[in-house]
Amino acid sequence: MSTPVSSASYRKIAPNVQPFNDFELVKPVYYYLDNRTCVWVLYSDMQPIINMQILLNAGKWHEPKQGLAPLLGKMIAEGTKQHNSQQIHEFFDSLGIFWDISTGVDQTQMNFYAMSKHFEKLLYMVAELLTEATFPPKELEQFKQKIIQQIQINKQKTNQEANLLSRECLYGNSHPYGYRLTEELVQTVQSEDLLCFYHQAICASPFHIILSGEISEKHLISLNKTIGSLSICSDTQPLVVHTKNSSHPTRIVVEKENALQTSIRVVCPLFVKKHPHQIPFGVLNEVLGGYFGSRLMKNLREKHGFTYGVHSTITFMRHEGFFSIGTDVNKEHRDAALEQIKFEIERLCQQLIPEEELTIVKNYMSGVYLKSVNTPIAIADLYKNISYHQLPDNYFDHYISHINSVTAEELLELSQKYLSGAFSEILVG
């Protein structure tokens, strides 16, 4: 049966690449609960599941003393006035709810995935977590031990150390984006400290909710009855201001005798996400080191074999942004690798990016975006970003045409503007 097949000539030619068009995201419907809490709702009846994200302004940025934020979120569900740790876990497991609460640099995020039929039961527990957490000392001690172990393990990893040093170098030790969590800091955290921070920044503080999935009228009524009835202090939160180090480019070298590799970071400050150059700079970043076929990857990995991987990234926090190039290289190649990184940066500042290369990058980025919006929860995550960075809510609607409108000349200008200055260099290992 396996007759030889004739080579059909049409098979030799790739189908035409269709242009990548803008994709208008479903817009949320806005509601206000009785206590003025703002709720963004993204309806979708594809699956009987609801995702609820609660975003609170309680991060490192707001903590009364260093070291509290990293423990705050994780400890909220370890005990309330009505339920102990075991009961809370049993509650979530019984209803098959996936959940996570964590505190980052600017925000505390509570994230719950529940079947729609259990959503109303979830609300009572969430109201409790928002108002009645107790931070039991016994659970806190267990958790502190776990974090301290993790810090000890991370100390041995050169890449972790290099990341921490990058942030210290950009923002300084006294800045919430710059300081590192040490064993000593963790040891100083007491249950009362967390309770105090919780009362100041979570309990009775305004928050924002993003709901997505199979949501009905009755869910919204229950939401209003539970979360909407919590008393929220109407005073606006005090404006917190932190000043960073006037960061002069520096070079930090930490020798580690036993390390097999050196972790290299090349960093410089950048604008925040709202900046008009953010999308074109994103394209520039992709060309340099953002994807598998990038210039740095081709140079350091494929041509020189210095490393398994090299990436350039843009990090946006609410009040700051930075650009970094990171790689782990064989120790004896560290200077040569650093030289090649500089070579690629200079090339971007001096020569136009060829059209063909730019087109592949634009197509790749458009595809990544389109693939990222294939579930209601993924769309909710985009709106979380919009909320976090205070972007207009049609930000993504023109994302693809914005990427495609970027020109090689514009990128050359941006390279000269942002990448021709001095970088800080961090080498660990």
């Binding site: 068009n21 699956q47 876990h89 019984s94 098959g96 197509n363 458009s366 595809g367 919006v373």
Partner: protein
């Protein structure tokens, strides 16, 4: 409810279409009805080696990955004991490129000797990196032959040994292709922002002229019932003591699969499960313990896997697991606990099916099991399980004579 429509091409290719107009993308998922269980016991690791060769250039297309990137797509593949699966996710407007790429590979590969040599060494490095050069990395290489004596599930998809891969010849490779890679041995699911008419037209155009091939009938030896416990202790360089216990259970198509899956969640999994709560939280004998089932087509395994704390002896740890198993053999679980594991099963399924790719893959799995609608029946079948069912399957699965124990002792 996952809606789908299906049709067959004259050459036997089964095509399933799942329309979802809410997304801007499409998935083309092609599942071949061949896995490591179909390998000759002296030529293991072939299904997986072959999966690598599928990226080394086809009749008319020398560089597969670059073509996918050019249209904003992403692709990958995996091999399991039962199936070999390939997928492309891309903007829906470029779906024809996925048909072009995937049909050309089914039509034929370029079978270049240098590609075979390169991929052989890549797979050998993968063997070393993932299975040999990691603490506990060889667990499944040891556990499979301990639990299975006759059935080809006794070897892992990577193969029994590196030598089998080293010895692979171009003749072997071509032989494998023409016996298993055929339109009449595959199921294609196209999901996302597409229409049935469009997919009918594209399937005819790109897959319609690929001739059916002679696929050998599957005749696998069945595993005889296990009569006594098997035990293997390994003294290797691992950081902490680890225990694996594997119990024979039914395959995914058997009515008892659902009760057995729930039983595994009663035992382990989340923090409130029996093993975790008693042995990790209360007695502090383990730092971690989990239970899961292998959802294989032929009779599979229920596995308990735990990390033992340094101050606990193996005997104590083993005994403690036994005590919890004994409870399940002699008592039915409460209605609340039953409800809990059913809720977990239901929400995992729903969560899983939010992703378009998972829906496409699960429709293909169903097709190969003889029921495309399997995906829509699973939740109800979990709901029908009673606590008596759970006790009954516990009595079949959990007795020690049905168990293979692998114990890693830290040096």
């Amino acid at each position: 409810m996952i809606h789908f429509q299906e049709f067959f091409l004259d050459n036997g290719l089964h095509v399933i279409v799942h329309e979802d107009k809410t997304v801007p993308i499409a998935v083309l998922n092609l599942m071949y009805d061949v896995g490591s269980r179909d390998e000759d016991e002296n030529k293991t690791g072939f299904a997986h080696l072959f999966e690598h060769l599928m990226f080394g250039g086809s009749l008319h297309i020398p560089y597969y990955d670059r073509e996918v990137q050019r249209v904003g797509g992403e692709n990958n593949a995996f091999t399991s004991p039962d199936v070999t699966n390939y997928y492309i996710i891309l903007p829906a407007s470029n779906i024809e490129t996925a048909f072009w790429l995937e049909s050309d590979r089914m039509l034929g590969l370029n079978f270049l000797p240098e590609v075979l040599e390169r991929e052989k060494s890549v797979v050998i490095e993968e063997f070393k990196q993932r299975y040999l050069n990691q603490p506990y990395g060889d667990a499944w290489l040891k556990l499979r032959p301990l639990a299975y004596r006759k059935h080809p599930y006794q070897w892992a998809t990577i193969g029994k040994e590196i030598a089998h891969i080293e010895r692979a010849t171009m003749h072997d490779v071509q032989d494998f292709f023409f016996h298993h890679y055929a339109p009449n041995n595959a199921v294609l699911c196209v999901a996302g922002n597409v229409t049935l008419e469009q997919i009918k037209r594209l399937s005819e155009k790109w897959f319609g002229d690929i001739p059916p091939r002679e696929v050998p009938a599957r005749k696998l030896p069945q595993e005889p019932p296990q009569k006594e416990m098997r035990f293997l202790e390994l003294n290797t360089k691992v950081p902490v003591d680890m225990i694996y216990m594997a119990f024979h259970m039914v395959g995914k198509n058997h009515p008892d699969f659902f009760a057995t899956d729930l039983l595994s969640n009663v035992l382990g999994g989340r923090e409130s499960s029996r093993l975790y709560r008693k042995l990790v939280k209360e007695r502090e004998l383990f730092t971690y313990i989990d239970t899961y089932v292998l959802g294989s087509f032929d009779p599979g395994l229920l596995v308990i896997n735990g990390r033992i704390t340094s101050r606990t002896s193996f005997q104590t740890a083993f005994q403690a697991i036994q005590e919890i198993i004994e409870e399940l053999l002699h008592e039915t679980i409460s209605e609340e606990e039953l409800e809990k594991v059913k809720n977990q099963a239901e929400s995992s399924l729903i969560y899983d099916e939010m992703e378009l790719l998972n829906r496409a893959m699960n429709l293909c799995y169903g097709a190969l099991m003889g029921n495309v609608n399997f995906i829509n029946e699973e939740i109800d079948r979990f709901k029908q399980v009673t606590s008596t069912d759970i006790q009954r399957v516990a009595q079949q699965v959990l007795p020690l004579h049905n168990c293979s124990v692998l114990y890693y002792k830290a040096e």
